[in-house]
Symmetry: C2
Amino acid sequence: MARPSAALRGRILDSSRHLFSERGYEATSLQEIASDVGCSKAALLYHFRNKDALLAELLTPVGQRVVELLEKVAPLDGEELVRTTVADLVDSALEYRLEIRLLFEDLPRLSHRPELNLLPDSTDRLFDCLTGRSRDPRARVAASMVLTGVALTASAPDNAPVGGEGSDADLRQGLVEASLRALGRDV
Amino acid sequence: MARPSAALRGRILDSSRHLFSERGYEATSLQEIASDVGCSKAALLYHFRNKDALLAELLTPVGQRVVELLEKVAPLDGEELVRTTVADLVDSALEYRLEIRLLFEDLPRLSHRPELNLLPDSTDRLFDCLTGRSRDPRARVAASMVLTGVALTASAPDNAPVGGEGSDADLRQGLVEASLRALGRDV
DNA sequence: CCGTAACCTGACCGATCGGTCAGTTCTGAC
DNA sequence: GTCAGAACTGACCGATCGGTCAGGTTACGG
């Protein structure tokens, strides 16, 4: 390793990802993160300019994931568009559980942040994909329900809906099937 | 009016309901609420023992609403159980938009609060009603998706999915239909 | 073996938080 | 008119927040 304890940076990211998603961004202090990691608050602020920078670094990957998803399904349409979007959306939600919890909990307070400016636009384009590019209000309501329902269910703290012993495979398939039904597609 | 400016108490509740739901509980200070209402912070704390009491008074009605919903549908079963639960759930979500936003945003930080202890239990019983009392893991995942999706879509800041000009009637009917489809019921 | 830069610490800062308190103003009953 | 109590204020409190800084420690290239 180049610098042995440069790994501290990664440990800070891991800890803040968990603490932020469990307690929320505002409710988590830098001191709590530092104590959890086992370093001083000053060390934390040595690796990250400020608290905002820490949050931004956590949220950037999930934002990129959505952008990639949109690029991937852009050339598709009809059934294939909807089915691919749903499947990829569920995968993304399961992949970034903690970040999504953080995002949803603190969305109103973070929506003014510049790096999240493209989020409303991304959401709108996700609606398009989920409806098969329909502008029908009812279809868009269904798309909104699917998007928020998938995100929050996939990121539930303890897999509450399934009860704990349910595997991710159950969760994934259940979400995909329910989403497709909600969107009026055969499963 | 018995005491004219006792109306201040109601204005404080209204203001905090909006501010809490827009910025979150932790991120809203008592001073902000007081300034918004136009009184001193001390006046606010005269009407409410502390910040927690203010929050509790905001969340209690929506909790009662859920309890009433559960009592109402308790004797039902089959199709009628599911359809009634969905319809009442959507109505409740539309009725308590701000409180639900607040509840979802700050749920992880509020879950330890005693007056919310019955929330996990209520959630579980809502799952039962939405699945028609099925314990099938897939059905429960669908129920979770419906519950969270309905709540968050109904309480979206600006009726985002419909675009703003859509009426509540559109939103209501769209949510009911999408929910029933997701739960595998004919609309 | 030395110097430099990365890494980290403890002490400290101003601001703001939720909450308290002594005292003042207002109001309605008598 | 008077008086009790509700309604309200401004000043203040300790705690904690995010963030800074001077200086110490460590590791590695030359």
